[in-house]
């Protein structure tokens, strides 16, 4: 699936565009840029530009819950320690 990124300049880390990643190779990436409700496709060279995800990063730590499912079978559930999808 597509993910939304900010496109930043390598030099000044200025935010240049918002859009979702269409494709990427060693030297460049192609972004579908969002401008209001309009979109356009643009390629960026990696030597000049970088991508930054809009996702909350949290930590990579996970924790496990040992419990039983509805049939009383033992079950192990692994979940992120960071809280995602919370209003505070």
């Amino acid at each position: 699936m597509n993910k939304i990124f900010r496109v930043l300049s390598n030099e000044k880390s200025e935010i240049l565009s918002i859009g979702y990643l269409i494709s990427e190779d060693e030297k460049s990436f192609k972004i579908r840029i969002q401008n209001g409700i309009k979109t356009s496709v643009q390629s960026f060279k990696k030597e000049n530009f970088k991508l930054k995800s809009i996702y909350e990063q949290g930590t990579k730590e996970m924790y496990q819950i040992k419990t039983k499912d509805h049939n009383n079978n033992d079950i192990l559930i692994e979940l992120p320690k960071s809280c995602f999808g919370g209003c505070g």
Partner: protein, 263 residues
């Protein structure tokens, strides 16, 4: 009901399913929707964010971020809507909302709803001057428990630049376009059947529309919302209280001008 149950009982002694949150929250709605889709018996407990009940020690013990929703199931506390969806799908697999052929993609879709909350819904809420300002004496608490929200408030909050406001518009339009395109040839995000992805995403466009976002450029999204709302899970327990939310936005805008609040 309120968080009093946490003050009167040990978490491990609380049996059944208890969901803590606030009905105006899209994250709370996501968890409530899953519980209704699973046709489970559950109790709702209101957490008053304006009174900072989310930072009461008893609540922090079940959600260290101090955010809503949190769920207790038979003495086990699960925090954050993403974890609640994963937990419920594991413990109560019937009816299943897993798309077995596209399971990893399905969870990517879930994360693309839950992990973009600040940049999308929160961004739009504050851009439209309707988010909760933070009382100055609570800054250290946010720094300790919910630094991402505090960072948003300090860098953007009620004082976004025109460029930042445009960025919020663009991010939300990109998100809705992504959803609209996924629905162009099918009834649900991953095909002909509803999955956890649909349950995770539904609250976001509903919330955005309620706070002023224009969904009309995304006709597939609008049709999908109607399709989802025709399900029995769309009931008074999962409905976003639109009028209450709009009134709250006016109040919060007024509150943001108070000298005791950062905005």
């Amino acid at each position: 009901m309120s968080i009093q149950i946490l003050k009167n009982n040990k978490v491990e002694d609380i049996k059944g399913i208890h969901l803590f949150g606030a009905s105006g929250s899209n994250n709370y709605m996501r968890a409530a929707l899953m519980l209704e889709e699973k046709q489970l018996n559950w109790q709702s407990h209101s957490v008053n964010l304006l009174k900072y009940e989310q930072f009461e020690p008893e609540y922090l013990a079940i959600n260290p971020q101090g955010s809503i929703p949190t769920m207790i199931h038979d003495g086990i506390a699960i925090y954050g809507s993403e974890n609640i969806l994963k937990y419920l799908e594991s413990i109560f697999p019937n009816p299943s909302f897993i798309n077995k052929e596209k399971e990893s993609e399905m969870w990517e879709w879930v994360e693309s709803a839950t992990r973009t909350h600040i940049e999308t819904a929160i961004g739009y809420l504050y851009k439209n001057k309707g988010g909760r300002p933070i009382r100055k004496d609570m800054v250290d608490t946010y720094k300790k428990n919910n630094p991402e929200k505090l960072k948003f408030m300090m860098e953007r909050g009620y004082h976004m630049t025109i460029e930042q406001e445009q960025e919020v518009e663009n991010i939300n339009n990109a998100k809705m376009l992504m959803l609209d395109e996924s629905l162009s040839n099918q009834d649900f995000i991953l095909g002909r059947k509803i999955s956890v992805a649909d349950i995770a995403w539904l609250p976001d466009p509903i919330f955005l529309k309620t706070i002023g976002f224009n969904l009309s450029p995304y006709p597939n999204v609008e049709k999908w919302i109607k399709r989802m709302q025709n399900r029995p899970s769309n009931n008074k327990r999962t409905k976003l209280p639109a009028f209450k939310l709009k009134v709250a936005m006016f109040y919060l805008k007024w509150l943001s001008k108070n000298k005791n609040y950062i905005h």
